[in-house]
Structure formats: C-alpha cells, structure tokens
Symmetry: C2
Subunit: 168 residues, 2 copies
C-alpha cells in the first residue's frame, strides 16, 4: 500500500514537471521580447543578404526571400502575387535602376510572436545625379515574415518613398 502511495506521488510530481502552466501576461511579454530580439538578429542578416542580391542584380536570389504565395506591394503599381511573379517584378525593378545605383536597407523595429514577425525600416538608393554627383532617394517599408519549416520568409512586403520620385 505504501508503495502505491509513493508511485502515485511520483506520477503527480512527473505531471507537475512535464507540463507547463498557462503563460501569464508578464511571461508572454518577456517571451515576446526575447523572440523579437532573436528575430531581429535573423531578419537583419536576411536584409543584408537581400541587399547583396539586389546590388548584384540577382532577381532569383531576391525572389528566394519570399514565400511561394507572398504579396509584393510596390508603390505606383498594382500588387504582385506569388514568388514567380515577384521574380519578374524584381527583374523589372533591377532593369529600371540607373547604372551605378546602390541599394540599402535599415531595420528599425521587429515585433515577433512565435512564427510571425513584423519588420519596419527604411530603404535608400544612391544613384548618379544629373550633375556628375550622386543623389539619394529614400523611404520606408513594412514587411510581414512567417517562419515556415524553420526559415523566415516574406509573406507581405510594402514600401513607399519619403518624397515623390524625382524625374529620371
């Protein structure tokens, strides 16, 4: 009988250690802060690799950052749906860049909860100016990332400029 009591106590103990209590609001916010910090490191690396692909003129590599059903929302044209169409959109964008242009991204804020992250930041493009100098256009973006099979992929990507586009 005593042995049975002990085994039941062990079951209770095992149950207590194997399971987790529902998360409190404080625990949730602490966890989300950790996940956001961790996602920011991952997404800053993604941004650097995307910039490298952009400045190398590699539309295939750029499209690989997007989920198969991603939506690209460029300014002054309709949305582009799906990775294959996005690859075509990237080719068009690269073809429209003046030679010598240098693209850059700056991540400003990342909020993540589990497999969803929102990344807000700034973009800029430095290009040869009309007088032999250089000019910069810049703007802002918001990107929705989902972690799919362990990898962060862009699901929605939208940006616009800080000023109307200058005549080229």
């Amino acid at each position: 009988m005593f042995a049975r009591v002990t085994s039941i106590s062990l079951i209770a103990l095992a149950t207590l250690t194997a399971c987790q209590q529902p998360e409190t609001a404080e625990q949730m916010h602490a966890r989300m802060q950790m996940e956001s910090d961790s996602a920011r490191v991952a997404l800053e690396a993604k941004a650097a690799a995307f910039v490298e692909a952009f400045n190398a003129g590699n539309a295939d590599a750029m499209a690989a950052f997007y989920a198969p059903d991603a939506v690209l929302m460029p300014p002054d044209m309709p949305a582009v749906m799906g990775r294959d169409a996005i690859r075509g959109g990237m080719e068009g964008m690269l073809a429209g860049m003046p030679p010598g242009s240098v693209f850059a991204l700056r991540v400003l804020d990342v909020a993540a909860n589990g497999p969803i992250a929102v990344d807000r930041g700034e973009w800029s493009t430095t290009m040869p100016g009309p007088d032999g100098g250089s000019m910069e256009i810049r703007g802002k973006y918001l990107v929705e990332w989902h972690r799919i099979d362990g990898e962060w992929l862009i699901v929605s990507d939208i940006w616009n400029g800080d000023a109307p586009m200058p005549p080229m």
Copy 2:
C-alpha cells in the same frame, strides 16, 4: 491510509487538468487560424469605423485607432511618429481631399498570433472627376496591430497607390 491515497490521486488529477502540455506545431497552427479568424472580425469592424471617421472628416476619431507610439508611413512624405503627430497628419490629409471624396477600405488578409496581428488590404477614394463624372484612386496597405489592454491598436501603418497620383 486509503484516504491519503485518494487525496494524492485527486492532486494528480487536479494537476493534470489545471496545466497544459507544450503546444504541438499542429495545435499552434490551429490556434493561430482561430485567432486570425477572430482578429479579422475585430479588424474589419475597426476598418469600418475608421472609414466612417475618415468620411466624417474626424481626425480625432481617426487618431484614436493608433497606439500612442504608432508610426504612420504615408506615400511621398516622411514617416509620422506618435498619435499626436498622426492626428495632425490626418488633419492635413483630410484638408487635401477634394470635397465629395469617399474613402473605403477592404481587408484582404489577417494573420494573428496572440496580441500581434498583421492586416493586409486595399484602399480606394472616389472623388469628383474633371468632367463632372467621378474618378477613383486605389492602392494597398499593410497594418501592424497590437492588442494592448484588450484593444487592437495600430502600431505601424503604411500604404501606397496602384498608380502614380493623378494631377488634382
């Protein structure tokens, strides 16, 4: 002794029912689908109320949808930081609308996980055209919402047009 066994069994049973197992990937996706569906209902109601405030020319009511530290990212101008500055931005936007303009929003997709939601959709404005008829401008948006003290508030809001803005 028998009473003691029973009380330990009851403790084990109570522990089993009070705690929760770590979520499996399948359970997480099912939960997120439910939360996204539920957030979509809430955010469609928010969108309808925002449209009502916009078409009533009520900048105060529009600003109330934003978190105190929200970031508004309108096209062709710099980002606007904070609810007070956003209220001013809304006043400017309302002042720039031709009389008789009608604004509309359409939510296309909502992805939520706990207190974070991303809302992607379309906007349109119908306004009097140059020939006495009406013209429509339209575009797309991405909005990051956080549920703060039980209420969904906009944290980041960006949009752009499907075509360059027509001359007014």
